[in-house]
Amino acid sequence: MKPAAFSYHAPETIAEAVAILAEVAPEDGRVLAGGQSLVPTMAFRLARPAHLVDINGVEGLDRLVLDGDELSIGACVRHAAFHRPVVEGCLGPLLSSVARHIGHYPIRQRGTFCGSLAQADPASEWCLAAVTLGATMTAMSVRGSRQIRARDFFEGIMTTALADDELLTEARLAIPPSDTRFGFAEFNRVAGGFAIAMVLAAFRLEDGVITEPRLGVGGVEERPRRIAEAEAALEGRAPGAEAFRAAADAAAGAVDPMEDINTSAGYRRDLVATLAFRALEQAGRALEQAGA
């Protein structure tokens, strides 16, 4: 189908954008970023916003910079910006390998990192990365600006802490210590499809044992989250199949999986065990390659 009629606004500054949003948000006025989720929803007439505020021409929102010990990702930074590592060290390659799982190449030319966070699809790779790596979001409105931590940002399926009149201007990712090792594993049935389940794992080693473990699960529950039980199973253990298996089983036991017409809760739970193990093994291999 074709999208329903709407009024189009193309602000050039953040101040202009939030002023328009303040005016049109009460009439279901929305931000248009990459349009790769919003436009299909409008084509299905599942969304019929009366106004769209196109932020693609807003000055400064395409900024992707290293700011102190954080990577600042502006609202118009596309998925494709991460195809090649954007920062030195371990974070750049990790973001590249995650980005490749988002839809298809042409989708990644338009879709944005921040748009994915605002959309809050349970199976969004960037939402999982934001939660697992500990991102901070900056929300702006005519009322001012505020910071929202990832764990407070995602409230449920396609629901975030953003108010209707707030513009997400940037997401900030903390740069992890350079000896952090990562693994990412995802499963879906067709190329470019949304994940049925995915796991992002990270840890460091100190005196031969795992420290600062992080294990995040996405696509399984209504929002991505870190699994404390799995992290506890890794902390202080030597990296290897035994510890990874214990953590993977702990993760599978701790999740409360969604069900859909193709996928039972049990199937998703099994996937969590398999993917957690694969992600941890990958992180382990990264260790060997680094000669640690």
Binding site: A5, S7, H104, Y105, P106
Partner: protein
């Protein structure tokens, strides 16, 4: 809401001054207002890729952009590939390798492949396969499309 916007689309180097509602997708504007019907529409929600065109150098789904967003942008469609009567190397390779049957998906595959090979002529096989998986074809089974794109890539590297 139904107000029309006066915009100019530069399609294959030719300027089209048109007047469209904001809700008009780029794909529909290219076909209806500009009369360039080589760009096809399958799903109209981003899944099939037959509407792929090149906007300012990037291959994009034209069903997921609004025409007003492309005012002044440089757009390339399948009509712009041939040089006079001479088909583009990719078009020739598609014919030689039987990379189409009904041809509905072909404009999308051509524009996707052209954009990618122009950007990265030395692209690896695995990356190429990953990118070609962006679009759907219900006829060929893909093998000949992959063959054709590989052959054209080799030819384009030589010249």
């Amino acid at each position: 809401m139904n107000a029309k916007h006066d915009i100019t689309l530069a399609i294959n180097g030719e300027a089209y001054a048109i007047s469209v509602e904001a809700r008009r997708t780029l794909a529909d504007a290219i076909r209806e207002e500009c009369g360039q019907t080589g760009t096809h529409l399958g799903c109209e929600h981003g899944v099939c890729g037959t509407c792929t065109v090149i906007v300012d150098g990037a291959p994009v789904r034209s069903c997921l952009m609004f025409a007003v967003q492309c005012d002044g942008a440089s757009i390339r469609t399948v009509e712009g590939l041939a040089d006079g009567g001479e088909p583009h190397p990719l078009q020739r390779a598609f014919m030689e390798h039987h990379a189409l049957q009904c041809g509905f998906c072909t404009p999308g595959f051509l524009m996707l492949a052209v954009a990618v090979l122009e950007r990265d002529p030395d692209i690896g096989d695995e990356d190429l396969l990953d990118i070609l998986s962006s679009n759907l074809c219900r006829c060929t089974g893909y093998a000949n499309i992959v063959k054709a794109v590989r052959a054209a890539a080799a030819e384009m590297r030589q010249c």
